[in-house]
Every structure is written in C-alpha cells, then in structure tokens.
Amino acid sequence: MSDILTISELDCFYGEVQVLHGLNLTLAKGEVLCLLGRNGAGKTTTLKAIMGLVPVAAGSIRLGDRELTGLPAHEIPKTGIAYVPQGRRLFAEMTVAENIEIGLMTRGKGKAVREAVLDLFPVLRERLKQRSGTLSGGEQQQLAMARALCVEPQVLLLDEPTEGLMPSMIQKIRETVAQLRGRGVSTILVEQRVDAVLSVADRVAFIENGRNRETMPVEALRADPSAVRRYVGVG
C-alpha cells in the first residue's frame, strides 16, 4: 500500500516545552493506524499538528506530495483531512441538520454526500431537527463523525471516539471505522482502549514522550502484547 500521509522528524512546542521530538509516522491508503500511549505522550498533539492547530517548529507533514506545514488551519480540511476532536465539540445550539450543513459547506458538497453520511448513521436521520446539545453522548459522537465525513476526507483523524460511551455505541463506532476503511478512507485513531485497537486497527504506533517508539502490525501485537505493558503500562 502506498503512503498517503507522511510525518517526518516533527518537533512541536507548547511555549517553552517540547511535546513532539522528531516524530515519524506513515499512514497508508485505506489503513487504520492507532496511536497508543500514556496521557501526555503527544498523541493528541500529533493530530493537532496535522490539522495546523499547533505550530510545527521543525519537520514535515505531507499529504501525498503536498506539504501541509505552514498552511493556515482553515486550509487543512480543504486538502481532504477531517478531524473529530476529543469531546466531540459540536455546535450545541444548532440542530443536527445544521451541524451537517456546516460540514457540507467546507468543500461545497451536496445532497448526495449528506444522504451517504446519514445512511452511515441512521439515528441522526431521526434527529435532524433536534438541537445537537441535547443528543446522547453516543449520538453526539456519531454526529461529530458525520460532520467530519461531510468533506469526504481521504484521511480521518479520530481522537478517543469511544471515550465515555456505552458498549453498543462503541461497537457502532468500530463498525463505522471498518466501513470507512472499506471505502478507502485512511484513519488515525487515538485510543486508550486496547480491545478497540485490536478490533479495528491495521497497525499500532506506540507514542512515548513525543516520539514514535515502535510501530507494529496489529497481528504482531495480538501475538505479543508485551508492548502495551511497556509503553502504556497496562495489559
């Protein structure tokens, strides 16, 4: 598989504090790459750096042949990268339909994309007129993903999408990620739940102190889960 996203020697700082130290990652087309690591390891910062929300001090982020570092944050989604942040961050006062409309406007997508997205999350179709702030946690997560998918992304960044959800919703999120893989969407998934990682990921990258310590296929991790203990401290 050819790499669609390549991160090379990435350095990022929060003020004086260096958070990413020469981070390297690759993401292949249609692949689900999971970032695992302890709190504060730099997983979310990696996603924010890709989205241009954290300034990149050194290194490169390339989508295909296009360099993304230096682009303003609002230009990144137009390249075909969508981000679902931790905590969903919906427009709570807007209805479900309006949240989706905003997503469609980014790249001028129309009714067909809207219908495709709603087919993926049928529960949202029943809630179109409801204010998004009044949805359940699982429905909000589905709406956040639906809104991100409105740009028909090549790369989807998901930051802890199963956090705080009940098992049936977690299963729904996993199924959706698998479905998207089938459609050729590449996904970087930040997860704390090792079972979720094992069920959907193709590869796993262990992030520690802002560095990619080890990347392995998920089969290798299944066969030898000691890396989880080593880098995450559980398992």
Binding site: L53, P85, R89, F91, E93, E98, I102, G103, M105, R147
Partner: protein, 321 residues
C-alpha cells in the same frame, strides 16, 4: 416540509410586523408618530449591532462610532458640501463601511474582553476627534442640517424629509430593507458560519472556514448597517451631534439587543421600543426615571434571560429567526 413551513411562518411574521408599523403611521398621534420613526431608525442601528453581538458573539463597545460615521458622513456632506440627500446617504454609508473595514482589521486581532476594550478605545478616539475638529463638526453643540437641504428628489418626485409622514415612511423603508437583509444573511450559509464561530471558533476553523475573514465580513456588514442608520438619522431628524458618538450610544444598542433578544431578527425592535417607551413614560412621572428603567432591565433579565424574543423562541416558537 416542516422547514419550509417554519420559513413561511417566519417571513409571514416579519411581513406582518412591517404591515403593522405601516398601518400605525395612519393612526398614531403626531408625538408618537415622530417617536416611532426615531425608534425604527435606532432599531436599525440595533439590528446592525445584533448581527455582530448576537450572531457572531463579538461584544463591541464601540458601535457608536459606526453610527456616528454615517451621521457625520451624511450630515456634514449636506451641511458643508451641499450634497443631495441620496448622495449624502450613500456617503454616510460609505464612511461607515470604510471605518468598519479598518477597525475590523485592527480590532479582530484581539478577542473577548480585549476586543471590547479595543473597540471602546477606537470609539473614544473617534468621539474626541469630533470634538477636536469642532470648526467643521460643531463640537459638542453639533450642527443642525438646514431644512431646505433635506428634500430628496427621486424619479421626478420630491420627498420632503421634514414632513412627518414622509419621515416615518422613509424610516420604515430603511428598517424593512435592513430587516430583510439581516433575515436573508442569517439564514444563509454565511449566517450559519457566523453562528458556528460564536459556538466554537476553533472547531469552525477545523472544519475549514477562515474565521478571521468571516468575522471581518460581519464587522463590515454590521458597521455599514449602523452607518446607514446614522446617515438616515442625520437626514430625517436634521441633527448631527457628538453625543451620538459617545460611549452611551455604544452601550444603548447592547441594552436594546439584550432586552429584545440577541440573535433574533426582531429582538432589536422590541428592545428599542420597550426601552424608549418605558423611558418616555417614566420620565413624564419622575425625575428618577433611570431607576425605573434599571428595575425594568433587572426584571427583564430575571424573567427573560435570553431577552423577550429569545426566551419566547426558546420556550414556545422554535421557528422564530
């Protein structure tokens, strides 16, 4: 279908309000005739303010400068340059639009409390500039626009803006046009993006919207509407004064919008109408009328935390724009 029905109800309500205001022009006694005309112009000012405060969530304490830019732009060009009414009106709007562009470019580098302070400072500079150039602006005394120059010639017909009936209808026309513009804007994609910025600016950026450009566009539209109200005020009521550039006139539209309902299209009218009439009635009974207005605002906040129309929309009429 439900969405279309809501849109129809919303447009129907606004058309009915315009119709009611038009009908009132035939029945109101002279004093109230003049007062309602003034309220419609000031409600237009409040609608401009509401676009930025209600829909984008940017609290400006300097909008008096946009109103005054229109007021002085139109008034001085008639007074000193002898421009015709339509030209002076366009000149006033142009002054407000250019000022809004410059202020927007500078003030939007800040946010939150800093934005509030920066806009207030710019407005104070504008106010002091008016006082400094008293030779041309009339300073704190202001200027009276000559009656003879307040006649508008359009398509062979003349409209004397000093005539109460003409004045009322011109004020109503301005109010109706701006209301229609605001309604179209807030229901458009641009309006959705503005609300998205208010809800979560970073998230809006992450979705691919240039939030600075959208906020700047909102400041320009808002400033231009306020300037249009100012220009109309100068030409309809014939007075150009520095008090309209003072901080009081930056706070008043905020109060009108809060009382009527921020981010509602008709809220500014309701708020301006309520404040004006309570002030008018209270001041005819007591010199402590500010106390009564203060009590009204407190009661308003307690029972209508989102303003009159904002609360009505939240509780009963979800379709209200």
């Amino acid at each position: 279908m439900k969405g279309e029905a809501s849109a129809l109800k919303a447009y129907g309500l606004h058309v009915a309000v315009i119709g009611l205001l038009f009908a009132l022009s035939f029945v109101l006694p002279p004093y109230h005739h003049g007062l309602v005309a003034r309220i419609m112009v000031l409600a237009t000012f409040a609608m401009g303010y509401n676009l930025l405060f209600g829909y984008v969530g940017l609290l400006s304490l300097g909008h008096a400068m946009f109103f005054a830019a229109g007021l002085y732009g139109a008034g001085l060009s008639v007074y000193h340059l002898g421009w015709s009414v339509p030209l002076a009106f366009a000149g006033g709007i142009g002054c407000g639009a250019v000022l809004a562009l410059v202020i927007g470019l500078l003030a939007l580098r800040t946010s939150g409390v800093a934005f509030m302070i920066v806009t207030m400072m710019f407005a104070q500079v504008f106010y002091l500039t008016i006082l400094y150039f008293a030779r041309w602006t009339g300073g704190d005394q202001g200027l009276v626009v000559p009656q003879g120059s307040r006649v508008m010639y359009l398509g062979g017909a003349s409209f004397d803006l000093t005539n109460p009936a003409v004045r009322y209808r011109v004020a109503l026309a301005l109010f109706a046009i701006v209301l229609a513009v605001v309604l179209v804007l807030v229901r458009s994609g641009f309006g959705r993006v503005l609300v998205a910025i208010r809800e979560n600016e970073e998230r809006t950026k992450m979705l691919g919207f240039d939030t600075f450009a959208n906020k700047l566009a909102a400041v320009i539209v808002s400033g231009t509407i306020c300037a249009a109200a100012g220009a109309a005020y100068a030409l309809l009521f014939g007075y150009v004064g520095s008090s309209f550039a003072s901080v009081q006139y930056s706070i008043l539209p905020l109060l009108w919008v809060l009382l009527g309902g921020a981010a509602t299209a008709l809220g500014p009218l309701v708020g301006t109408l309520a404040m004006y009439y309570v002030t008018d009635i209270a001041s005819s009974y007591t010199s402590a009328w500010l106390l009564i207005v203060g009590v009204m605002l407190i009661v308003g906040v307690l029972f209508f935390p989102k303003g009159v129309l904002g609360t009505i929309r939240q509780r009963w009429l979800r379709w209200l724009p």
